[in-house]
Amino acid sequence: MISDTKNTQGNKVGMIALIAGIVGIVIALFGFKQGWDAGEVRPIMSWLIALGFWLSIVVGMLFLVQIWYVFHARWPTIIRRQCEHCMAALPYLLLLFLPLLAIPIFHENAGLLWKWMDGNNAMPGQITVAGDPLYDWKSPYLNIEFFAARAVGIFLVFIGIAALLRKWSFDTDTTGNVANTHRARRLSALGLFLCAIGATLASIDWFKSLEYHWFSTMYGVWFFAACMRAALASIIILCVILAAKGYLKGILKQAHRYDIGCMMLAFTVFWAYISFSQYFLIYSANIPEEVFWYNIREKNYNGDLNSWWWVSMGLIFGHFLTPFLLLLWYKTKVVMWRTVVVAVWILAFHLLDLYWNIIPGKVVTMDTTEGYLVRQFSITVYDVAALIGIGGICIFAMCRSMKKAEPIPVRDPNILTSLNYTE
């Protein structure tokens, strides 16, 4: 059971992913450079979206594994190992985050992406960031030094916890030491707190502070919900591929897929609950410094519906209602191809959700009476390149990890329960 079952096809997939990743990253960085030179932020946002997309998947898996440990869940033991392989991508994601961190340090306009970083940047209403009382109030939190420290801290928490969980889990394969499971469980109890804080700060810093005027206390929870949906959708796709072509053949049972499907349904509802609550509270209070964030995602300054209105409707009906209704059916959760279709659907709309959160912003211009334009929805070549590029590196990291360890945790104390799991 040791070496012959280890992943051998992974070599080829890993190499293809690495090549695609490098090509994608070169193209995306070319766009990044163009944007850097021209002071145009859209190609840089492509990088942020792609990074957010892949990071949300891996962070969601980190949450999942810890939740499973804390609740002593036995059934997902074989799936947990696949999550552990995916978590190998975290150090690469830190590396890929550095170009964004280079903007405040090296660019002449430190606030090219996050505009509060440069006091000279103009805001609507003929003021600058430096002359903005709201920025003044928020500056103890929103300053470049603290921002950089937080970014490094967030990644260190994710990478550190993932590395420890991986080390202990892989160690059990050879030594069969049950103490590893207890250690992992204790770490997860603390790690869930740290990761929750990390994911909240990450979403506030990287996505929410793009429009630093805005207030929302739900934003961190929104990101957590989005991470969980992305992770569950990805893990079911990965497991089905591994069961069809790889080492999970005959190991992944209908019961495992059914339970992941149930969690997909639960987090679809959770995402909708959080996203709607955020909207509902802001709608009810109707305060200008909050509602503008939804206004620009619906209308241009002159009141005409803009492209984001269609995206918003797409999120309501495509990211919530359709997967919700489909996942209610028992068949969707047990018929393999139906589950995969819904999972791909959720991932696509998760990406659209990130677009919706990141791209719209008030572009300052003196031509219009209101002094701003809304940046409209678009999909560029650099978006695709960055997605393929960063994704390729993540998949490469996963395949590399698959070569190192057993396909399933063969000596885990809960492995039998997981292998014999039935509905």
């Binding site: 709607f276 909207y279 509902f280 709608y283 009810s284 109707n286 209610l328 028992y330 039935t422």
Partner: protein, 176 residues
Amino acid sequence: MSEKYGIIASFPDTPSFFHAAEKVRDAGYKKWDTYSSFPVHGMPEAQGQPRSKVPIFTFVGGITGFIVGLVMVWYMNAYDYPLIVRGQPYFSPVFPFPIMYELTILLAAFGTLGGMFLTNLLPQHYNPLFNSDTFLEVSGDRLVIAIEARDEQFDPVTTRQFLEEIGGTDIEEVSA
């Protein structure tokens, strides 16, 4: 009152009980059931039972709740006594959403509970099987399969033979 309710047969252990159930299913009987004091895993499939109908009751209940909430708020705030709150429109799908949502959950739960009772044919205070002292031991350690007389394939002689063939013991007729 010597009308028959059906025939019961006991089985010595869970595997033979389980496989006997599969054979009764394959023989084409419809009006029959298995009785044990503990759940036997996979028994619904061995008995050839279709999937539960309860989710349909849940879904219908949920949809009803959603629409009732919507119509209720529209009737109260926009039709019967139009009221301006916070300068927002008389009616919009946004602000009554908590009410629609809560009623969806409430009526879905009612639908589930009611559906469970209906599909389980509950409450049922009496069953002719209680006439048999052998059957009463089911609440101890006895495993019983009962084929009812109203089944189309039922025949006092051949059904008894069939139950003997599949390994049943203590076979007896139960009067209605």
